[in-house]
């Protein structure tokens, strides 16, 4: 095995481990906002590491490398947009509106 093979294995292991941690976090947390943080991390860190593994193995300027980079970018930016919309929905459903409460304004 070459150094590149070890790097690929390490990146895959890191990506899969990141996704597993996010799954366990989703299971362990008790409210939707806390769970949303784990879902967002799962869409950013794991796919980036897996895409890096594909790029290290196939090369950055290759069909596989570019496709995997595009997938990771779509997941990262798309998940950020979805997380924002979901957080607004959660806030709206739990508090009845998006405005901050007097207690929150006092804390800030």
């Amino acid at each position: 095995m070459t150094v590149r093979d070890y790097a690929v294995d390490a990146l895959i292991a890191g990506g899969v481990a990141a996704e597993l941690v996010c799954c366990l976090g989703l299971l362990a947390m008790r409210n939707a906002i806390d769970r949303l943080h784990y879902a967002g991390a799962g869409a950013a860190l794991g796919p980036a590491l897996i895409a890096a593994a594909v790029c290290v193995r196939e090369g950055f300027v290759s069909s596989e490398g570019l496709n995997s980079l595009l997938t990771a970018l779509l997941l990262a930016f798309g998940s950020a947009a979805v997380a924002g919309a979901t957080a607004r929905l959660i806030r709206f459903r739990q508090r009845g509106g998006l405005e901050s409460t007097p207690a929150e304004r006092e804390r800030a």
Partner: protein, 84 residues
């Protein structure tokens, strides 16, 4: 069986805890779990495409990553109007 396929298998097994949250948790928590499930499926498809050495398979995770955004925003839009 190479390391890519092993990683994909592990990620498919990781869908189980998300499925528990999907089935048992309130609707907003289930929506968050659904977003993570789609992410896991996308990454698993990425690993399978590389594991099988088929460059044409890379189109599938790209489409799923795009549909992840669209589907989740549709769920958010409709859940905002309903009292569940």
């Amino acid at each position: 069986m190479n390391v890519w396929l092993i990683g994909a298998t592990v990620l498919l097994a990781a869908l189980l805890p998300c499925g528990v949250v999907l089935v048992r948790a309130p609707i907003l928590d289930a929506l968050v779990a659904l977003e993570l499930v789609t992410t896991l499926a996308t990454v698993a498809l990425l690993l399978l495409a590389e594991g099988y050495h088929r460059s044409s398979y890379f189109a599938v995770p790209i489409v799923l990553a795009f549909l992840n955004v669209v589907g989740a925003l549709i769920f958010v839009r409709f859940l905002a109007d309903r009292r569940l």
